[in-house]
Amino acid sequence: MTITNSSLHQEEHFRNDLGEIIQETSALTWRLFIQLIRRPSTLFAGILQPLIWLLLFAALFSKAPIDFLPGSSSYGEFLGAGLIVFTAFSGALNAGLPVMFDREFGFLNRLLVAPLSSRSSIVISSVIYITTISLMQSFAIMATSALLGYGWPSFGGFLLIAITLLLLIFAITGLSLGLAFILPGHIELIAIIFIANLPVLFASTALAPISFMPKWLGWIASINPLTFAIEPIRMAYNNSVDMKLVLINAPYGELNGYSCLVILFILTVGLFFLIRPLLNRKLA
């Protein structure tokens, strides 16, 4: 095979571009981590809040009839999966805040005046940062659950948890970044985060199974993305991982582990395509 000058040139150009993208993305990601190291309160708050919930709710419903909690031996065990997902969800929902502050304080303009190889670096760095933080927070909840005696998943289960959380985090991070570019300021973004957080949790299977809910709430819970993340994780804690097992008895039908992951995947890809034109326009 003959390699032409043109293809060599293209390859070199691609390598340079890739090197530049890595340089700018790592610098932007490192900036976010420096902020976290010097202001770790948000990290700890993100861990503490679900931990308090875990302790209080597990105690509050410790005498709840076990029959209502499919596959769980205690309410604390049932609650653990919900709070792991809730932690990841809350963390990812905050992804837009650093971008919003950069917009408001003009720092984004500094980035946009620079000859970035790809302006996706700005988004990618946020995604890397939020994914790392959300996973750290979720694993902290998992570790505490284990210490409280609510179990620890097998290796396969752990892998399933990681994949499920990643899909959820990507989807919600995309949504939050989209909001950060649509909304006029951080007050509005915080208001949406504040409004969305608890209702989305309560309208999922985090705190109670669908069979425990009134019909209308059961419907909402069975289309809530959190439910599609919670149930595979609950399975990872309760049984050996069997993706064909029916996890959700929704009013519209039964969903197994595969269905849950496929729905989360479609949600992630769908949100990505939805916000892409917006990001292209705002970062153009």
Partner: protein, 337 residues
């Protein structure tokens, strides 16, 4: 050769027209000043050159290339120091410069060398390793300038670089700008400080209501006025009728030209005189028509006189007039992506 050429630039924010057919040519290697009150359209023009904004219509050439199409190439060539200093309060000054270096893809050794050079040149050594949140306005501005210069740009764009600065910081920045100009860096600087443009600029343009109303070398613009500037008041607080009568009287005196009534300053009259003899002739004419001279000042023309001549008001009056009309919500929207 012109490094920047703007042709028929128009830009509106809703119903507010920020640029109204702006034309500008900035020679390569010069320090070019844009003078005008806040809201005149200076920042909008600079943001368009920096590729932060798209004009509604018009042409933008930077280094002979279409900046609206070749954005990345344009960004590589320029350094931008914005009006509102945008720094990350959590980072130290040095970390901010390192980040900036990575955004411009500088290699490790060059980045370190340039950061050290700029720390020394802008006298930042004492505080560069402190967090930016603790910096004074002057420190932030110096750091911002260092960021803009880190990649050794051919073009440096500064939007009001010394607003609200202490004398020390202003003098450090002025000295560096003069040095850069001598090293053939093209500098485009917007300001509403007359003395700043007068002191630094090789050439300048006065912008009012989104277009250039006068341009050239500061000395030429002043000398084009054709004589010394006189401000006359026939009463402490005159009125339009009286001012108009005086204007009609003195505009016919030999050696008097460009008579302008300045409403904002108690209907005083501003005009040019070709020589000192005209002043005594002026007093005679006024007394013949029973006008008294309440105050009369006589000075070499300044850039403020150039502005006054072009717009009928001083720069400060224009600032005050616009201050009440400023829409901070709109300005915030303008600066946000």
């Amino acid at each position: 050769m012109f490094f920047i050429q703007l042709k028929d630039l128009f830009k509106s924010y809703g119903s507010v027209r920020a640029l109204n057919g702006l034309n500008l040519k900035v020679p390569k290697g010069s320090l070019y000043g844009l003078l005008g009150p806040n809201g005149a359209g200076k920042s909008t023009a600079l943001r368009i050159i920096c590729t932060l904004l798209q004009p509604d219509s018009g042409d933008v050439q930077v280094a002979g290339k279409n900046a609206l199409l070749e954005e990345k190439e344009t960004r590589r060539r320029l350094g931008y120091v914005a009006q509102d200093v945008a720094i990350d309060k959590i980072l130290t000054g040095r970390e901010l410069l390192q980040l900036q270096g990575d955004l411009y893809h500088l290699n490790k050794n060059f980045k370190k060398k340039r950061i050290d050079e700029l720390i020394q040149r802008l006298e930042m050594k004492e505080w560069i390793d402190r967090r930016c949140g603790s910096f004074s306005g002057g420190m932030k501005r110096r750091l911002d300038l260092a960021s803009g210069l880190l990649h050794e740009p051919e073009l440096l764009i500064l939007d009001e670089p010394t607003v609200g600065l202490d004398i020390e910081s202003r003098s450090v920045i002025w000295a560096l700008l003069k040095e850069l100009r001598n090293n053939e860096t093209t500098i485009l600087l917007s300001s509403h400080y007359l003395e700043e443009v007068d002191e630094l600029a090789d050439e300048m343009a006065i912008i009012d209501k989104g277009k250039v109303i006068a341009s050239g070398k500061p000395e030429d613009l002043k000398s084009e006025l054709g004589g010394d500037r006189v401000t006359l008041r026939v009463r402490e607080f005159s009125n339009s009728l009286e001012a108009e009568s005086v204007r009609k009287l003195i505009k016919n005196i030999n050696g008097v030209s460009n008579v302008v009534i300045n409403k904002k300053q108690g209907y005083s009259l501003n005009f040019l005189v070709s020589s000192n003899d005209v002043i005594s002739s002026l007093s005679d004419h006024l007394s013949q028509e029973n006008f008294e001279v309440f105050a009369l000042s006589h000075s070499r023309p300044s850039l403020d006189d150039v502005y006054l001549q072009a717009t009928g008001k001083t720069l400060m009056d224009a600032e005050l007039e616009l201050a009440g009309k400023r829409d901070f919500k709109l300005e915030n929207k303008k600066s946000m992506r």
